[in-house]
């Protein structure tokens, strides 16, 4: 039974990773930016979620507010931090992004204090019993369901709508897409909006499951997020999802069986290094 329980925990964690890192992959796929500051937006999402829920009592409203606000912030980050640096060598943007992320952590700490905030009245806290007396939190079911819904609607949008087509065309060849009348800048803003809105939902859900938001909650997704998108083959959406779930499950078992030798983060990066040495461009990267 322990195996199954660990597996479900792994899937829940993996779904959260998926929501966090899908945005990173979207950004990397379009602009080749390693967007560390993404994790700052994730934390922002968590804070907005808790603050709005505590103010209004409505979790749904909090989720939507977080998505929209963080989405707009994401576009701002692109506009003011990345756009002027696109022509520079990639490590310039990477360092700028890391600096931005550290600054955002500090701002959260200064504004909201170092100890974090909790839900006054945590929503969705019930538990359901599934086969064999095993219990699973309602929140966890919602996380899995919500990520599935988000990801499939994203897949549908990118496949069947005009905007989606324009987006895919720009990813595969920006110049040709532009020649066909696609507005490159609109695609980029849309990309950052979607990416940031997705990570905001991840922030809200992580805050929900831990019943805590704190300034440093972004540190794990920031670096581990990079590990995941690299594992998946940078910019590859399907690969990122596989890598997210894989890492969730491996970590879940790993902390039980390898916890004495490695801590949780080290397991993630150990897996990353092993996979990269075998497949230097990630699980689904091009050869």
């Amino acid at each position: 039974m322990l195996y199954l329980e660990l597996f479900i925990q792994g899937i829940v964690q993996g779904s959260l990773y998926g929501l966090m890192t899908l945005g990173l992959t979207l950004v990397y796929g379009l602009l080749r930016i390693l967007h560390v500051a993404h994790a700052g937006l994730f934390t922002l999402g968590g804070y907005i979620g808790v603050l709005v829920t505590n103010q209004t009592g409505s979790f749904g409203l909090a989720l939507i507010t977080a998505m929209v606000t963080v989405g707009v912030m994401g576009m701002g980050v692109y506009k003011f931090a990345y756009e002027p640096l696109l022509k520079r060598p990639p490590f310039v943007i990477l360092i700028a992004s890391i600096a931005l992320f550290i600054a955002s952590e500090e701002i959260f700490r200064i504004i909201f204090g170092p100890y974090g905030l909790s839900y006054e009245n945590p929503p969705l806290k019930g538990q359901v019993e599934i086969f064999g007396g095993m219990k699973i939190k309602v929140g966890e079911i919602i996380v899995i369901g919500f990520s599935l819904a988000m990801l499939s609607s994203l897949a549908w949008l990118s496949k069947y709508t005009r905007t989606g087509m324009a987006w895919r065309a720009t990813v595969s060849d920006p110049d040709i897409a532009q020649a066909f009348g696609v507005n490159k800048n609109k695609v980029r803003y849309l990309n950052f909006f979607m990416a940031s809105a997705l990570t905001a939902t991840a922030g809200v859900f992580v805050a929900l499951l831990n019943n805590l938001v704190e300034p440093t909650m972004g540190s794990v997704p920031s670096y581990k997020g990079l590990a995941i998108i690299v594992l998946g083959g940078l910019g590859n959406i399907r690969g990122t999802l596989i890598a997210s779930l894989l890492l969730g499950v491996v970590e879940s078992y790993g902390t039980i069986y390898l916890g004495k030798i490695l801590d949780r983060d080290a397991i993630a990066f150990g897996l990353l290094i092993i996979v990269l040495m075998i497949r230097p461009k990630g699980i689904l990267g091009e050869k």
Binding site: I93, A227, M277, G282
Partner: protein, 282 residues
């Protein structure tokens, strides 16, 4: 006087560490986001050996060797993965290092190792040793940069594939750069351990790796004197900006961000610009 000696020793160790990374990233164009792991390897090697009462003059080269050996493997890895993939792999090595050290009682676990014995000479003597080693490596770096090897490095940083078409064995040079850059970090680590007398896993985390990379980049990638200058400045900056206390990290990251945003070539490029402007106006 004690305060000044401590300050100068810290500065000198940081310069040595930054120059080590500059050798890899600045000269050979191989990004490393986990350089603190090598600083840590050196520090732990020296600390553990000193605990077994082995004299400092033996532990110092031993630290260089262990860090260099680890660097050799990262060099091998750099042949498999490139660019962004290499950045993340080296970052992974950094996390792996901290993760392993933290969980092992052998390395002192979460508490780290304290009470590392003094290297056997006065604080001033130790400072002189640090400065001597730093100067030695600075001159070595400049000599390499001017030699044919420096040109090969430059060419690899520019375009690996073209360099190998020219008939140059890129792999050898990359591994050499990694081994040199990481052994120097190991030496810096040994000095660090004996300077502070205390080391713990948190002293060698990701933030350290980023700050040393920041030193190299804010100075100006590849320029020995500019990197030394910015390392000296940034290493004592936390002490100089004590007055902003609670906002220290915010100030630091703000500086780093504005530097990248407005002058990505670092201080070296600002100086260059000023020079050309002067020439134009005169």
């Amino acid at each position: 006087m004690d305060y000044e000696i401590t300050l100068l020793t810290t500065m000198s160790i940081s310069i040595l560490f930054a120059l080590g990374l500059n050798f890899v990233t600045g000269f050979c164009g191989q990004i490393s986001l986990g350089h603190a792991a090598f600083l840590g390897t050196g520090a732990y090697t020296s600390a553990l050996m000193t605990k077994a009462s082995i004299p400092f003059l033996i532990t110092l080269p031993a630290s260089a060797m262990t860090a260099g050996c680890l660097g050799f493997f990262i060099g091998l890895a750099s042949l498999r993965v490139r660019h962004d993939f290499l950045a993340i792999t080296t970052m992974g090595v950094g996390f792996l290092f901290v993760g392993i050290v933290r969980q092992q009682d052998f390395f002192g676990g979460e508490e780290g190792i304290s009470g590392i014995s003094s290297p056997g000479f006065s604080r001033f003597g130790f400072l002189l040793l640090c400065i001597a080693l730093t100067l030695l490596f600075a001159f070595f770096s400049t000599a390499i940069k001017r030699s044919w090897m420096g040109r090969v490095f430059e060419s690899i940083a520019d375009d690996e594939d073209i360099t190998s078409i020219l008939g140059i064995n890129v792999a050898h040079y990359k591994i050499f750069a990694f081994v040199v850059g990481t052994s120097v970090a190991g030496v810096a680590g040994a000095l660090y351990a004996h300077h502070l007398r205390f080391i713990g896993p948190d002293s060698f985390g990701f933030v350290e790796s980023v700050s040393v990379l920041a030193m190299v980049i804010i100075g100006g990638v590849g320029s020995v004197w500019a990197v030394s200058f910015s390392a000296a400045l940034l290493s004592v900056l936390p002490m100089l900006i004590q007055f902003v206390d609670d906002y220290k990290l915010l100030f630091y990251s703000g500086l780093l961000f504005s530097m990248m945003r407005f002058s990505p070539g670092g201080m070296a490029s600002i100086v260059k610009k000023m020079k050309t402007n002067n020439e134009k106006s005169s």
